[in-house]
Amino acid sequence: MYAQMVKSEATNDDPALLEAFQARVDANEKIEPKEWMPEGYRKTLIRQIGQHAHSEIVGQLPEGNWITRAPTLERKAILLAKVQDEAGHGLYLYCAAETLGISRDEMTEMLLSGRMKYSSIFNYPTLTWADIGAVGWLVDGAAIMNQVPLQRTSFGPYSRAMIRICKEESFHQRQGYDIMMKMAKGTPEQKEMAQDALNRFWYPSLMMFGPSDKDSVHSAQSMAWKIKINTNDELRQKFVDQTVPQAEYLGLTVPDPELKWNEEKGGHDFSEPDWSEFYDVLQGNGPCNRDRIEARQKAWEDGAWVRDAMVAHAEKRAAKRIATE
Protein backbone atom coordinates (compact mmCIF):
# COMPACT_ATOMS: atom_id res chain seq x y z
CA MET A 1 0.00 0.00 0.00
CA TYR A 2 1.07 3.65 0.00
CA ALA A 3 2.05 3.00 3.61
CA GLN A 4 3.84 -0.33 3.66
CA MET A 5 5.37 -2.24 6.54
CA VAL A 6 4.61 0.48 9.05
CA LYS A 7 5.72 -0.85 12.38
CA SER A 8 3.56 0.25 15.24
CA GLU A 9 5.56 1.94 17.96
CA ALA A 10 5.68 0.58 21.47
CA THR A 11 3.79 2.56 23.99
CA ASN A 12 4.55 3.01 27.71
CA ASP A 13 1.62 4.99 28.91
CA ASP A 14 -0.58 4.91 31.97
CA PRO A 15 -2.78 1.80 31.62
CA ALA A 16 -5.90 3.67 32.77
CA LEU A 17 -5.44 6.35 30.11
CA LEU A 18 -4.71 3.67 27.54
CA GLU A 19 -7.88 1.86 28.42
CA ALA A 20 -9.98 5.02 28.21
CA PHE A 21 -8.35 5.86 24.88
CA GLN A 22 -9.06 2.40 23.50
CA ALA A 23 -12.68 2.71 24.62
CA ARG A 24 -13.03 5.92 22.63
CA VAL A 25 -11.53 4.28 19.54
CA ASP A 26 -13.82 1.28 19.98
CA ALA A 27 -16.82 3.61 20.20
CA ASN A 28 -15.73 5.08 16.83
CA GLU A 29 -14.99 8.46 18.33
CA LYS A 30 -12.51 10.51 16.36
CA ILE A 31 -9.25 11.38 18.09
CA GLU A 32 -8.28 15.01 17.55
CA PRO A 33 -4.73 16.42 17.60
CA LYS A 34 -4.76 18.13 20.96
CA GLU A 35 -6.41 15.27 22.81
CA TRP A 36 -4.47 12.75 24.82
CA MET A 37 -3.16 9.85 22.78
CA PRO A 38 -0.65 7.08 23.44
CA GLU A 39 2.86 8.02 22.35
CA GLY A 40 2.96 4.90 20.17
CA TYR A 41 -0.23 5.98 18.42
CA ARG A 42 1.25 9.39 17.65
CA LYS A 43 4.54 8.00 16.39
CA THR A 44 2.98 5.26 14.31
CA LEU A 45 0.64 7.76 12.73
CA ILE A 46 3.45 10.17 11.89
CA ARG A 47 5.28 7.33 10.20
CA GLN A 48 2.23 6.05 8.37
CA ILE A 49 0.79 9.38 7.24
CA GLY A 50 4.27 10.62 6.35
CA GLN A 51 4.92 7.56 4.24
CA HIS A 52 1.56 7.97 2.59
CA ALA A 53 2.32 11.63 1.81
CA HIS A 54 5.77 10.80 0.45
CA SER A 55 4.20 8.18 -1.80
CA GLU A 56 1.91 10.78 -3.32
CA ILE A 57 4.84 13.12 -3.97
CA VAL A 58 7.25 10.53 -5.34
CA GLY A 59 4.27 9.06 -7.17
CA GLN A 60 4.08 12.24 -9.25
CA LEU A 61 7.32 11.25 -10.97
CA PRO A 62 6.52 8.07 -12.92
CA GLU A 63 3.32 9.57 -14.31
CA GLY A 64 4.84 13.01 -14.73
CA ASN A 65 7.34 11.23 -16.95
CA TRP A 66 4.65 11.15 -19.68
CA ILE A 67 3.01 14.57 -19.33
CA THR A 68 5.15 16.06 -22.09
CA ARG A 69 4.48 13.05 -24.32
CA ALA A 70 0.75 12.57 -23.82
CA PRO A 71 -0.73 11.75 -27.22
CA THR A 72 -3.62 14.25 -27.37
CA LEU A 73 -4.42 17.60 -25.80
CA GLU A 74 -7.19 16.03 -23.76
CA ARG A 75 -4.95 13.23 -22.47
CA LYS A 76 -2.31 15.80 -21.59
CA ALA A 77 -4.83 17.82 -19.59
CA ILE A 78 -6.23 14.75 -17.83
CA LEU A 79 -2.80 13.44 -16.90
CA LEU A 80 -1.63 16.83 -15.71
CA ALA A 81 -4.76 17.25 -13.59
CA LYS A 82 -4.22 13.80 -12.12
CA VAL A 83 -0.57 14.32 -11.25
CA GLN A 84 -1.53 17.71 -9.83
CA ASP A 85 -4.04 15.91 -7.63
CA GLU A 86 -1.22 13.71 -6.30
CA ALA A 87 0.60 16.86 -5.22
CA GLY A 88 -2.60 18.05 -3.55
CA HIS A 89 -3.04 14.73 -1.78
CA GLY A 90 0.53 14.81 -0.55
CA LEU A 91 -0.15 18.30 0.73
CA TYR A 92 -3.33 17.27 2.62
CA LEU A 93 -1.52 14.34 4.18
CA TYR A 94 1.52 16.35 5.23
CA CYS A 95 -0.88 18.80 6.90
CA ALA A 96 -2.57 15.92 8.72
CA ALA A 97 0.81 14.69 9.96
CA GLU A 98 1.79 18.22 10.97
CA THR A 99 -1.04 18.28 13.52
CA LEU A 100 0.92 15.56 15.35
CA GLY A 101 3.91 17.80 15.96
CA ILE A 102 6.24 17.29 13.01
CA SER A 103 6.85 19.79 10.21
CA ARG A 104 6.63 19.19 6.48
CA ASP A 105 10.26 20.20 6.08
CA GLU A 106 11.31 17.66 8.71
CA MET A 107 9.41 14.94 6.89
CA THR A 108 10.93 16.01 3.57
CA GLU A 109 14.42 15.83 5.03
CA MET A 110 13.63 12.35 6.34
CA LEU A 111 12.43 11.23 2.93
CA LEU A 112 15.53 12.57 1.21
CA SER A 113 17.89 11.01 3.74
CA GLY A 114 16.14 7.66 3.46
CA ARG A 115 14.87 7.66 7.05
CA MET A 116 11.29 7.62 5.81
CA LYS A 117 10.01 5.39 3.02
CA TYR A 118 7.46 5.65 0.23
CA SER A 119 5.57 2.93 -1.58
CA SER A 120 7.65 0.35 -3.45
CA ILE A 121 5.48 0.75 -6.56
CA PHE A 122 6.92 4.11 -7.52
CA ASN A 123 10.34 2.61 -8.01
CA TYR A 124 9.15 0.98 -11.21
CA PRO A 125 9.55 2.84 -14.51
CA THR A 126 6.82 3.97 -16.91
CA LEU A 127 8.16 2.84 -20.26
CA THR A 128 5.27 3.25 -22.66
CA TRP A 129 2.03 5.23 -22.78
CA ALA A 130 0.16 2.06 -21.80
CA ASP A 131 1.97 2.25 -18.46
CA ILE A 132 0.05 5.43 -17.73
CA GLY A 133 -3.13 3.45 -18.26
CA ALA A 134 -1.84 0.60 -16.12
CA VAL A 135 -0.77 2.89 -13.30
CA GLY A 136 -4.21 4.49 -13.15
CA TRP A 137 -6.04 1.20 -13.42
CA LEU A 138 -3.88 -1.01 -11.19
CA VAL A 139 -1.89 1.27 -8.90
CA ASP A 140 -4.71 3.68 -8.18
CA GLY A 141 -7.06 0.73 -8.04
CA ALA A 142 -4.91 -0.88 -5.35
CA ALA A 143 -4.53 2.41 -3.48
CA ILE A 144 -8.28 2.99 -3.44
CA MET A 145 -8.78 -0.45 -1.83
CA ASN A 146 -6.88 0.85 1.16
CA GLN A 147 -7.95 4.46 1.14
CA VAL A 148 -11.68 3.93 1.13
CA PRO A 149 -11.70 2.09 4.49
CA LEU A 150 -9.16 4.58 5.87
CA GLN A 151 -11.80 7.28 5.65
CA ARG A 152 -13.06 5.68 8.87
CA THR A 153 -9.70 5.77 10.60
CA SER A 154 -9.69 6.94 14.22
CA PHE A 155 -7.47 10.01 13.79
CA GLY A 156 -9.66 12.96 12.77
CA PRO A 157 -7.26 14.89 10.48
CA TYR A 158 -6.19 11.68 8.71
CA SER A 159 -9.78 10.62 8.24
CA ARG A 160 -10.77 14.01 6.83
CA ALA A 161 -7.78 14.04 4.47
CA MET A 162 -8.76 10.57 3.24
CA ILE A 163 -12.35 11.66 2.62
CA ARG A 164 -11.18 14.54 0.47
CA ILE A 165 -8.64 12.36 -1.30
CA CYS A 166 -11.14 9.60 -2.08
CA LYS A 167 -13.58 12.13 -3.47
CA GLU A 168 -10.94 13.59 -5.77
CA GLU A 169 -9.45 10.24 -6.72
CA SER A 170 -12.65 8.84 -8.09
CA PHE A 171 -11.62 9.82 -11.62
CA HIS A 172 -8.05 8.53 -11.37
CA GLN A 173 -8.68 4.85 -11.77
CA ARG A 174 -11.34 5.44 -14.41
CA GLN A 175 -9.04 7.54 -16.58
CA GLY A 176 -6.44 4.77 -16.38
CA TYR A 177 -8.94 2.13 -17.43
CA ASP A 178 -10.14 4.41 -20.19
CA ILE A 179 -6.59 4.56 -21.58
CA MET A 180 -6.37 0.76 -21.34
CA MET A 181 -9.66 0.36 -23.24
CA LYS A 182 -8.40 2.58 -26.07
CA MET A 183 -5.14 0.64 -26.22
CA ALA A 184 -6.68 -2.82 -25.94
CA LYS A 185 -9.14 -2.05 -28.71
CA GLY A 186 -6.62 -0.16 -30.81
CA THR A 187 -3.95 -1.25 -33.27
CA PRO A 188 -2.08 -4.54 -32.71
CA GLU A 189 0.89 -2.55 -31.42
CA GLN A 190 -1.29 -0.69 -28.94
CA LYS A 191 -2.75 -3.94 -27.68
CA GLU A 192 0.74 -5.37 -27.34
CA MET A 193 1.78 -2.33 -25.30
CA ALA A 194 -1.27 -2.74 -23.07
CA GLN A 195 -0.47 -6.41 -22.41
CA ASP A 196 3.16 -5.57 -21.74
CA ALA A 197 2.13 -2.92 -19.22
CA LEU A 198 -0.14 -5.38 -17.42
CA ASN A 199 2.68 -7.94 -17.40
CA ARG A 200 5.07 -5.53 -15.76
CA PHE A 201 2.67 -3.88 -13.30
CA TRP A 202 0.66 -6.89 -12.09
CA TYR A 203 3.02 -8.25 -9.44
CA PRO A 204 4.35 -4.87 -8.28
CA SER A 205 0.69 -3.90 -7.77
CA LEU A 206 0.11 -6.99 -5.62
CA MET A 207 3.22 -6.07 -3.63
CA MET A 208 1.70 -2.71 -2.80
CA PHE A 209 -0.39 -4.38 -0.11
CA GLY A 210 2.74 -5.66 1.62
CA PRO A 211 3.53 -9.21 2.73
CA SER A 212 0.98 -11.21 4.65
CA ASP A 213 0.46 -9.67 8.05
CA LYS A 214 -2.18 -11.93 9.53
CA ASP A 215 0.19 -12.97 12.33
CA SER A 216 1.87 -9.59 12.79
CA VAL A 217 1.78 -7.95 16.23
CA HIS A 218 2.28 -4.52 14.71
CA SER A 219 -0.64 -5.00 12.45
CA ALA A 220 -2.84 -6.13 15.34
CA GLN A 221 -1.98 -3.01 17.33
CA SER A 222 -2.63 -0.71 14.36
CA MET A 223 -5.93 -2.42 13.74
CA ALA A 224 -6.96 -2.04 17.37
CA TRP A 225 -6.19 1.67 17.06
CA LYS A 226 -8.10 1.82 13.77
CA ILE A 227 -5.26 3.31 11.83
CA LYS A 228 -5.24 0.15 9.77
CA ILE A 229 -8.62 -1.25 8.86
CA ASN A 230 -8.03 -4.45 6.90
CA THR A 231 -5.25 -7.00 6.73
CA ASN A 232 -2.94 -6.91 3.73
CA ASP A 233 -4.25 -10.28 2.56
CA GLU A 234 -7.87 -9.20 2.68
CA LEU A 235 -7.15 -6.16 0.55
CA ARG A 236 -4.99 -8.08 -1.91
CA GLN A 237 -7.70 -10.70 -2.38
CA LYS A 238 -10.29 -8.02 -2.93
CA PHE A 239 -8.04 -6.30 -5.45
CA VAL A 240 -7.46 -9.48 -7.45
CA ASP A 241 -11.15 -10.37 -7.46
CA GLN A 242 -12.05 -6.92 -8.67
CA THR A 243 -9.30 -6.64 -11.27
CA VAL A 244 -9.47 -10.02 -13.01
CA PRO A 245 -12.84 -9.43 -14.71
CA GLN A 246 -11.67 -5.96 -15.73
CA ALA A 247 -8.65 -7.52 -17.45
CA GLU A 248 -10.93 -10.05 -19.14
CA TYR A 249 -13.12 -7.26 -20.45
CA LEU A 250 -10.04 -5.69 -22.01
CA GLY A 251 -9.09 -9.01 -23.59
CA LEU A 252 -5.80 -8.95 -21.70
CA THR A 253 -4.21 -11.84 -19.83
CA VAL A 254 -3.20 -11.56 -16.19
CA PRO A 255 0.38 -12.90 -16.13
CA ASP A 256 -0.33 -15.68 -13.63
CA PRO A 257 -0.82 -19.25 -14.87
CA GLU A 258 -2.06 -20.28 -11.41
CA LEU A 259 -4.87 -17.78 -11.44
CA LYS A 260 -8.28 -19.46 -11.18
CA TRP A 261 -11.65 -18.96 -9.54
CA ASN A 262 -12.10 -20.86 -6.29
CA GLU A 263 -15.81 -21.47 -5.83
CA GLU A 264 -15.39 -22.61 -2.26
CA LYS A 265 -13.75 -19.44 -0.97
CA GLY A 266 -15.67 -17.25 -3.36
CA GLY A 267 -12.50 -15.66 -4.66
CA HIS A 268 -9.55 -16.23 -6.96
CA ASP A 269 -6.53 -18.35 -6.17
CA PHE A 270 -3.44 -16.54 -7.39
CA SER A 271 0.35 -16.61 -7.18
CA GLU A 272 2.23 -14.61 -4.60
CA PRO A 273 4.56 -11.97 -5.95
CA ASP A 274 8.29 -12.51 -5.59
CA TRP A 275 8.81 -11.15 -2.09
CA SER A 276 12.58 -11.12 -2.43
CA GLU A 277 12.13 -8.56 -5.20
CA PHE A 278 9.88 -6.55 -2.88
CA TYR A 279 12.54 -6.47 -0.15
CA ASP A 280 15.17 -5.54 -2.72
CA VAL A 281 13.07 -2.59 -3.80
CA LEU A 282 12.55 -1.50 -0.20
CA GLN A 283 16.29 -1.72 0.35
CA GLY A 284 16.81 0.78 -2.45
CA ASN A 285 17.47 -1.69 -5.26
CA GLY A 286 14.36 -1.14 -7.36
CA PRO A 287 14.82 -0.01 -10.96
CA CYS A 288 14.24 3.66 -10.13
CA ASN A 289 14.90 4.23 -6.40
CA ARG A 290 17.95 6.36 -6.91
CA ASP A 291 16.44 8.37 -9.75
CA ARG A 292 13.29 9.11 -7.79
CA ILE A 293 15.08 10.40 -4.71
CA GLU A 294 17.55 12.35 -6.81
CA ALA A 295 14.67 14.04 -8.62
CA ARG A 296 13.08 15.02 -5.30
CA GLN A 297 16.46 16.11 -3.95
CA LYS A 298 17.03 18.30 -6.97
CA ALA A 299 13.60 19.93 -6.70
CA TRP A 300 14.23 20.57 -3.00
CA GLU A 301 17.71 22.03 -3.47
CA ASP A 302 16.93 24.02 -6.61
CA GLY A 303 13.88 25.46 -4.87
CA ALA A 304 15.67 26.60 -1.72
CA TRP A 305 16.46 30.08 -3.02
CA VAL A 306 12.82 30.53 -4.04
CA ARG A 307 11.47 29.52 -0.64
CA ASP A 308 14.01 31.72 1.13
CA ALA A 309 13.31 34.71 -1.09
CA MET A 310 9.58 34.48 -0.45
CA VAL A 311 10.16 34.55 3.29
CA ALA A 312 12.56 37.47 2.95
CA HIS A 313 10.07 39.40 0.88
CA ALA A 314 7.18 38.64 3.23
CA GLU A 315 9.26 40.03 6.09
CA LYS A 316 9.99 43.20 4.11
CA ARG A 317 6.30 43.65 3.38
CA ALA A 318 5.36 43.13 7.00
CA ALA A 319 7.98 45.65 8.12
CA LYS A 320 6.70 48.18 5.60
CA ARG A 321 3.17 47.68 6.81
CA ILE A 322 4.15 48.26 10.42
CA ALA A 323 6.10 51.37 9.45
CA THR A 324 3.08 52.92 7.75
CA GLU A 325 0.70 52.11 10.58
Partner: protein, 281 residues
Protein backbone atom coordinates in the same frame (compact mmCIF):
# COMPACT_ATOMS: atom_id res chain seq x y z
CA UNK B 1 20.35 -2.20 -65.39
CA UNK B 2 17.15 -0.76 -63.98
CA UNK B 3 17.12 2.99 -63.78
CA UNK B 4 17.07 4.57 -60.34
CA UNK B 5 13.89 6.43 -59.40
CA UNK B 6 14.32 10.19 -59.53
CA UNK B 7 12.54 12.78 -57.48
CA UNK B 8 9.94 13.19 -60.20
CA UNK B 9 8.68 9.64 -59.81
CA UNK B 10 4.88 9.75 -59.48
CA UNK B 11 5.29 7.55 -56.43
CA UNK B 12 6.72 10.47 -54.52
CA UNK B 13 3.43 12.30 -54.84
CA UNK B 14 1.44 9.25 -53.83
CA UNK B 15 3.71 8.81 -50.84
CA UNK B 16 3.24 12.40 -49.80
CA UNK B 17 -0.52 11.95 -49.99
CA UNK B 18 -0.42 8.74 -48.03
CA UNK B 19 1.60 10.45 -45.34
CA UNK B 20 -1.68 12.01 -44.36
CA UNK B 21 -2.97 15.04 -42.63
CA UNK B 22 0.39 16.40 -41.50
CA UNK B 23 1.41 17.33 -45.02
CA UNK B 24 -1.90 18.57 -46.32
CA UNK B 25 -1.62 21.55 -48.61
CA UNK B 26 -3.15 24.47 -46.75
CA UNK B 27 -5.10 27.53 -47.80
CA UNK B 28 -3.59 29.94 -50.36
CA UNK B 29 -1.39 32.48 -48.62
CA UNK B 30 -2.91 35.94 -48.49
CA UNK B 31 -6.51 34.72 -48.64
CA UNK B 32 -8.78 35.93 -45.81
CA UNK B 33 -9.20 32.35 -44.56
CA UNK B 34 -5.47 31.82 -44.51
CA UNK B 35 -4.96 35.07 -42.61
CA UNK B 36 -7.51 34.10 -40.02
CA UNK B 37 -6.10 30.59 -39.77
CA UNK B 38 -2.65 32.11 -39.20
CA UNK B 39 -3.92 34.51 -36.55
CA UNK B 40 -5.68 31.70 -34.70
CA UNK B 41 -2.70 29.38 -34.80
CA UNK B 42 -0.57 32.22 -33.43
CA UNK B 43 -2.87 32.40 -30.40
CA UNK B 44 -3.21 28.63 -30.05
CA UNK B 45 0.46 27.84 -30.58
CA UNK B 46 1.46 30.35 -27.92
CA UNK B 47 -0.72 28.68 -25.32
CA UNK B 48 0.19 25.20 -26.54
CA UNK B 49 3.93 25.73 -26.31
CA UNK B 50 3.92 27.77 -23.11
CA UNK B 51 1.43 25.36 -21.51
CA UNK B 52 3.78 22.54 -22.44
CA UNK B 53 6.77 24.31 -20.95
CA UNK B 54 4.95 25.03 -17.70
CA UNK B 55 3.73 21.44 -17.50
CA UNK B 56 7.38 20.33 -17.47
CA UNK B 57 7.49 21.61 -13.87
CA UNK B 58 4.91 19.17 -12.60
CA UNK B 59 6.51 17.22 -9.76
CA UNK B 60 9.63 19.40 -9.63
CA UNK B 61 8.57 22.81 -8.26
CA UNK B 62 10.25 24.46 -5.24
CA UNK B 63 7.27 23.82 -2.97
CA UNK B 64 4.05 21.81 -3.23
CA UNK B 65 1.79 24.84 -3.33
CA UNK B 66 3.70 26.16 -6.36
CA UNK B 67 3.63 22.77 -8.05
CA UNK B 68 -0.15 22.83 -7.86
CA UNK B 69 -0.43 26.47 -8.95
CA UNK B 70 1.80 25.96 -11.98
CA UNK B 71 -0.24 22.97 -13.06
CA UNK B 72 -3.36 25.14 -12.94
CA UNK B 73 -1.75 27.66 -15.27
CA UNK B 74 -0.67 24.91 -17.65
CA UNK B 75 -4.13 23.37 -17.60
CA UNK B 76 -5.74 26.70 -18.46
CA UNK B 77 -3.40 27.12 -21.39
CA UNK B 78 -3.98 23.61 -22.72
CA UNK B 79 -7.71 24.31 -22.56
CA UNK B 80 -7.27 27.57 -24.43
CA UNK B 81 -5.20 25.74 -27.05
CA UNK B 82 -8.08 23.36 -27.70
CA UNK B 83 -10.34 26.34 -28.38
CA UNK B 84 -7.97 28.36 -30.56
CA UNK B 85 -6.67 25.46 -32.61
CA UNK B 86 -10.14 23.95 -32.80
CA UNK B 87 -11.41 27.15 -34.37
CA UNK B 88 -8.34 27.33 -36.62
CA UNK B 89 -9.19 23.87 -37.95
CA UNK B 90 -12.78 24.93 -38.58
CA UNK B 91 -11.70 28.07 -40.40
CA UNK B 92 -9.26 26.09 -42.52
CA UNK B 93 -12.08 23.76 -43.53
CA UNK B 94 -9.92 20.73 -44.29
CA UNK B 95 -11.08 18.62 -41.37
CA UNK B 96 -8.02 19.10 -39.19
CA UNK B 97 -8.75 18.94 -35.47
CA UNK B 98 -6.93 20.81 -32.70
CA UNK B 99 -4.99 17.61 -32.06
CA UNK B 100 -4.00 17.29 -35.73
CA UNK B 101 -2.66 20.83 -35.65
CA UNK B 102 -0.84 20.34 -32.36
CA UNK B 103 0.69 16.94 -33.03
CA UNK B 104 1.12 16.71 -36.79
CA UNK B 105 2.69 19.99 -37.88
CA UNK B 106 6.44 20.40 -38.05
CA UNK B 107 8.28 23.29 -36.38
CA UNK B 108 8.21 25.55 -39.43
CA UNK B 109 4.41 25.49 -39.39
CA UNK B 110 4.21 26.64 -35.79
CA UNK B 111 3.35 30.30 -35.32
CA UNK B 112 4.09 30.89 -31.64
CA UNK B 113 6.29 33.68 -30.30
CA UNK B 114 9.92 32.76 -29.67
CA UNK B 115 9.47 33.85 -26.05
CA UNK B 116 7.20 30.95 -25.14
CA UNK B 117 9.50 28.23 -26.47
CA UNK B 118 12.50 29.39 -24.43
CA UNK B 119 13.45 26.60 -22.02
CA UNK B 120 12.35 26.78 -18.39
CA UNK B 121 15.80 27.10 -16.80
CA UNK B 122 15.17 27.94 -13.14
CA UNK B 123 11.89 28.80 -11.41
CA UNK B 124 12.63 32.54 -11.59
CA UNK B 125 13.25 32.38 -15.33
CA UNK B 126 10.02 30.44 -15.79
CA UNK B 127 8.06 33.03 -13.82
CA UNK B 128 9.67 35.97 -15.59
CA UNK B 129 8.80 34.44 -18.98
CA UNK B 130 5.26 33.89 -17.74
CA UNK B 131 4.97 37.45 -16.51
CA UNK B 132 6.24 39.03 -19.73
CA UNK B 133 3.79 36.86 -21.66
CA UNK B 134 0.81 37.36 -19.32
CA UNK B 135 1.30 41.13 -19.41
CA UNK B 136 0.82 40.90 -23.19
CA UNK B 137 -1.75 38.10 -23.18
CA UNK B 138 -4.24 39.89 -20.98
CA UNK B 139 -4.64 43.12 -23.01
CA UNK B 140 -4.45 41.02 -26.19
CA UNK B 141 -7.45 38.96 -25.08
CA UNK B 142 -9.24 42.09 -23.96
CA UNK B 143 -8.88 43.48 -27.47
CA UNK B 144 -9.94 40.17 -29.01
CA UNK B 145 -13.18 40.28 -27.05
CA UNK B 146 -14.26 42.98 -29.51
CA UNK B 147 -13.40 40.93 -32.60
CA UNK B 148 -15.74 41.19 -35.54
CA UNK B 149 -15.91 37.37 -35.38
CA UNK B 150 -18.07 36.32 -32.42
CA UNK B 151 -16.34 32.97 -32.14
CA UNK B 152 -13.08 34.76 -31.37
CA UNK B 153 -14.77 37.10 -28.91
CA UNK B 154 -16.20 34.15 -26.99
CA UNK B 155 -12.87 32.36 -26.64
CA UNK B 156 -11.16 35.60 -25.63
CA UNK B 157 -13.76 36.26 -22.95
CA UNK B 158 -13.36 32.82 -21.41
CA UNK B 159 -9.56 32.82 -21.63
CA UNK B 160 -9.41 36.40 -20.36
CA UNK B 161 -10.81 35.41 -16.98
CA UNK B 162 -8.14 32.75 -16.57
CA UNK B 163 -5.34 34.97 -17.76
CA UNK B 164 -6.27 37.82 -15.41
CA UNK B 165 -5.38 35.45 -12.58
CA UNK B 166 -2.21 34.23 -14.33
CA UNK B 167 -1.02 37.81 -14.55
CA UNK B 168 -1.88 38.58 -10.95
CA UNK B 169 0.09 35.57 -9.82
CA UNK B 170 3.12 35.86 -12.08
CA UNK B 171 3.42 39.60 -11.35
CA UNK B 172 3.24 38.93 -7.63
CA UNK B 173 5.95 36.28 -7.80
CA UNK B 174 8.22 38.44 -9.95
CA UNK B 175 7.94 41.15 -7.29
CA UNK B 176 8.61 38.74 -4.46
CA UNK B 177 11.61 37.13 -6.10
CA UNK B 178 12.98 40.40 -7.46
CA UNK B 179 12.76 42.03 -4.06
CA UNK B 180 13.55 38.95 -1.98
CA UNK B 181 17.13 38.02 -1.19
CA UNK B 182 20.30 39.11 -2.92
CA UNK B 183 20.49 35.74 -4.61
CA UNK B 184 16.92 35.84 -5.87
CA UNK B 185 17.36 39.41 -7.10
CA UNK B 186 20.41 38.38 -9.10
CA UNK B 187 18.57 35.44 -10.62
CA UNK B 188 15.59 37.56 -11.61
CA UNK B 189 17.84 40.21 -13.10
CA UNK B 190 19.55 37.53 -15.16
CA UNK B 191 16.19 36.07 -16.25
CA UNK B 192 14.93 39.49 -17.31
CA UNK B 193 18.05 40.18 -19.34
CA UNK B 194 17.91 36.81 -21.03
CA UNK B 195 14.23 37.10 -21.92
CA UNK B 196 14.02 40.77 -22.77
CA UNK B 197 15.22 40.34 -26.38
CA UNK B 198 12.28 37.98 -26.92
CA UNK B 199 9.63 40.41 -25.67
CA UNK B 200 9.64 42.79 -28.62
CA UNK B 201 8.27 40.21 -31.06
CA UNK B 202 4.89 40.45 -29.35
CA UNK B 203 4.36 43.93 -30.78
CA UNK B 204 5.69 43.53 -34.30
CA UNK B 205 3.02 43.45 -36.98
CA UNK B 206 3.45 41.68 -40.30
CA UNK B 207 1.12 41.92 -43.30
CA UNK B 208 -1.17 39.23 -41.87
CA UNK B 209 -1.62 41.26 -38.70
CA UNK B 210 -2.31 44.37 -40.72
CA UNK B 211 -5.02 42.67 -42.78
CA UNK B 212 -6.60 41.03 -39.71
CA UNK B 213 -6.64 44.38 -37.93
CA UNK B 214 -8.16 46.01 -40.99
CA UNK B 215 -11.00 43.44 -40.91
CA UNK B 216 -11.50 44.03 -37.20
CA UNK B 217 -10.76 40.36 -36.53
CA UNK B 218 -7.66 40.80 -34.41
CA UNK B 219 -5.94 43.87 -32.99
CA UNK B 220 -2.80 45.48 -34.34
CA UNK B 221 -0.08 44.09 -32.04
CA UNK B 222 1.55 47.52 -31.74
CA UNK B 223 -1.61 48.70 -30.00
CA UNK B 224 -1.00 46.27 -27.13
CA UNK B 225 2.33 47.85 -26.29
CA UNK B 226 1.22 50.80 -24.10
CA UNK B 227 -0.72 48.52 -21.72
CA UNK B 228 2.20 46.10 -21.58
CA UNK B 229 4.73 48.88 -21.00
CA UNK B 230 2.66 50.21 -18.15
CA UNK B 231 2.28 46.84 -16.40
CA UNK B 232 5.91 45.93 -16.90
CA UNK B 233 7.15 49.29 -15.63
CA UNK B 234 5.01 49.07 -12.52
CA UNK B 235 5.91 45.49 -11.63
CA UNK B 236 9.62 45.79 -12.39
CA UNK B 237 9.80 48.89 -10.21
CA UNK B 238 8.20 47.03 -7.33
CA UNK B 239 10.50 44.12 -7.97
CA UNK B 240 13.50 46.51 -7.77
CA UNK B 241 14.53 45.42 -11.28
CA UNK B 242 15.63 47.77 -14.04
CA UNK B 243 14.13 47.60 -17.46
CA UNK B 244 16.95 46.65 -19.85
CA UNK B 245 18.07 49.48 -22.13
CA UNK B 246 18.23 47.67 -25.43
CA UNK B 247 15.03 47.18 -27.34
CA UNK B 248 16.60 44.71 -29.74
CA UNK B 249 14.03 42.06 -30.59
CA UNK B 250 14.54 38.54 -31.91
CA UNK B 251 11.75 37.71 -34.29
CA UNK B 252 10.49 35.06 -36.68
CA UNK B 253 8.36 32.79 -34.49
CA UNK B 254 5.11 34.22 -35.82
CA UNK B 255 6.30 33.42 -39.34
CA UNK B 256 7.54 29.91 -38.49
CA UNK B 257 11.25 30.60 -38.03
CA UNK B 258 12.00 29.29 -34.57
CA UNK B 259 14.83 28.70 -32.13
CA UNK B 260 16.42 25.26 -31.92
CA UNK B 261 14.48 24.58 -28.76
CA UNK B 262 11.13 24.18 -30.48
CA UNK B 263 12.19 21.13 -32.48
CA UNK B 264 13.20 19.31 -29.31
CA UNK B 265 9.98 20.22 -27.61
CA UNK B 266 7.97 18.90 -30.55
CA UNK B 267 10.05 15.75 -30.67
CA UNK B 268 8.74 14.78 -27.25
CA UNK B 269 5.29 16.23 -27.61
CA UNK B 270 4.52 14.61 -30.96
CA UNK B 271 6.30 11.33 -30.37
CA UNK B 272 3.34 8.99 -30.02
CA UNK B 273 1.29 10.50 -32.83
CA UNK B 274 4.29 10.29 -35.12
CA UNK B 275 5.38 6.80 -34.09
CA UNK B 276 1.92 5.27 -34.45
CA UNK B 277 0.17 7.16 -37.27
CA UNK B 278 -3.58 6.77 -37.32
CA UNK B 279 -3.89 5.21 -33.87
CA UNK B 280 -6.50 6.59 -31.48
CA UNK B 281 -5.63 7.23 -27.86
Amino acid sequence: MPSLPDIMTPDAEALAKAAGKGRRVTLPAGSPEHDLFTGLTRMGDNTLILGHRVSEWCGHAPVLEEDIALANVALDMIGQTQLWLGLAGTVEGHGRSADDLAFLRDAWHFRNLLLVERPNRDFGHTLMRQFLFDAWHQPMLKALEGSSDDRIGEIALKAGKEVAYHLERSADLVIRLGDGTEESHAKMKDALERLWPYAGEMFLADEVDVRLAHEGLMPDPAGIRPAWDETVAEILAEATLNRPDSDFAHKGGKQGRHTEDLGHLLTSMQWLQRAYPGATW
